[in-house]
């Protein structure tokens, strides 16, 4: 993937986050929708802006930690509305 395509994806994901936030969703549903989008943006930045795609083993490690971190954030976000 080129960096220009990565940028287009990042702008698209940011627009999608804004749409979800403006849609009136709140509480656990907003967290469950918006935080994975943030995780995807992080994944794109790590792999294509920071070029971790060139080091696949390390990229996998970063993706795993990022995924766990997003899951933790979702869990903490859901608790107040549970």
């Amino acid at each position: 993937m080129t960096v220009t395509r990565a940028w287009i994806i990042l702008v698209g994901l940011s627009a999608l986050s804004t749409l979800v936030a403006a849609s009136g969703l709140d509480g656990r549903w907003l967290a469950a929708a918006v935080l994975p989008l943030a995780g995807l943006k992080g994944h794109v930045i790590l792999n294509y802006y920071l070029q971790l795609a060139l080091a696949p083993e390390i990229a996998r490690g970063f993706s795993l930690v990022l995924g766990l971190f997003i899951a933790l954030l979702i869990g903490l976000s859901i608790l107040p509305s549970a």
């Binding site: 990565a6 990042l10 702008v11 907003l30 935080l35 992080g42 790590l46 802006y49 920071l50 080091a55």
Partner: protein
């Protein structure tokens, strides 16, 4: 097979071009696996910095959401005072700035110094746009009598976004410096710092401004 055997043997027995190294241990006789860290783009120390910064901001965001459990209504009310639209614009400004910085790395690697500088200048300018919008939010909060101590939300908001804004400022200075130096390794390292700033913001923005 013979060639492979002789290659392994010569590597093990010579220990290098000089051929006078001590005999290798049995574990060293296994074919060398490429070190995954060799493939890391940019300076290794910049990656150490990136990981440390991500850990610091990550801990801050976890603490923020953990504290929010104790007072969800207060946090939601406090959040309504923030500039959500401005923060959304800042997201686009940073990801676009990161794109320009990534293109600048490609330009300097191709020996196109003038193009690299033409790309880094708007990348840094978008960083300034970010800081202006952020300053406008802080000014409005101050005008409304909201400070660091008004509510735990604002304590974390100012700490997290203020620390991040300091990194944006440092990143702008770094982009200017590597643009002047015009060395591929320096530009790659400066851009890596800038992408880290970008990465932190895309994680911070939804937690502090949207949830």
């Amino acid at each position: 097979m013979t060639a492979l055997h002789s290659l392994s043997f010569s590597q093990v027995s010579s220990g290098g071009p000089g051929g006078d190294a001590p005999p290798a241990s049995p574990s060293a006789q296994a074919p060398d696996r490429p070190d995954p860290f060799d493939k890391l783009p940019g300076e290794f120390m910049m990656w150490v910095l990136i990981v440390s910064e991500l850990l610091v901001f990550g801990a801050g965001l976890v603490a923020f959401l953990a504290l929010r459990i104790t007072d969800p209504t207060g946090f939601a009310e406090a959040q309504s005072h923030l500039h959500r639209v401005g923060a959304g614009i800042n997201t686009i400004a940073l990801v676009t700035s990161g794109w320009l910085a990534a293109l600048a790395v490609q330009a300097v690697e191709a020996g196109r110094i003038a193009r690299m500088r033409t790309l880094l200048a708007p990348a840094a300018a978008l960083g300034m746009v970010f800081l202006v919008l952020k300053a406008s939010e802080y000014a409005d909060l101050a005008a409304a009598g909201i400070s660091f101590e008004t509510h735990a939300f604002f304590t974390f908001h100012i700490l997290l976004t203020g620390f991040h804004a300091a990194h944006v400022l440092a990143g702008i200075v770094l982009l200017a410096l590597v643009g002047i130096l015009a060395r591929p390794r320096a530009v790659e390292t400066g851009a890596a710092f800038w992408h880290m700033v970008d990465l932190v913001w895309v994680l911070l923005f939804p937690v502090v401004y949207l949830l």
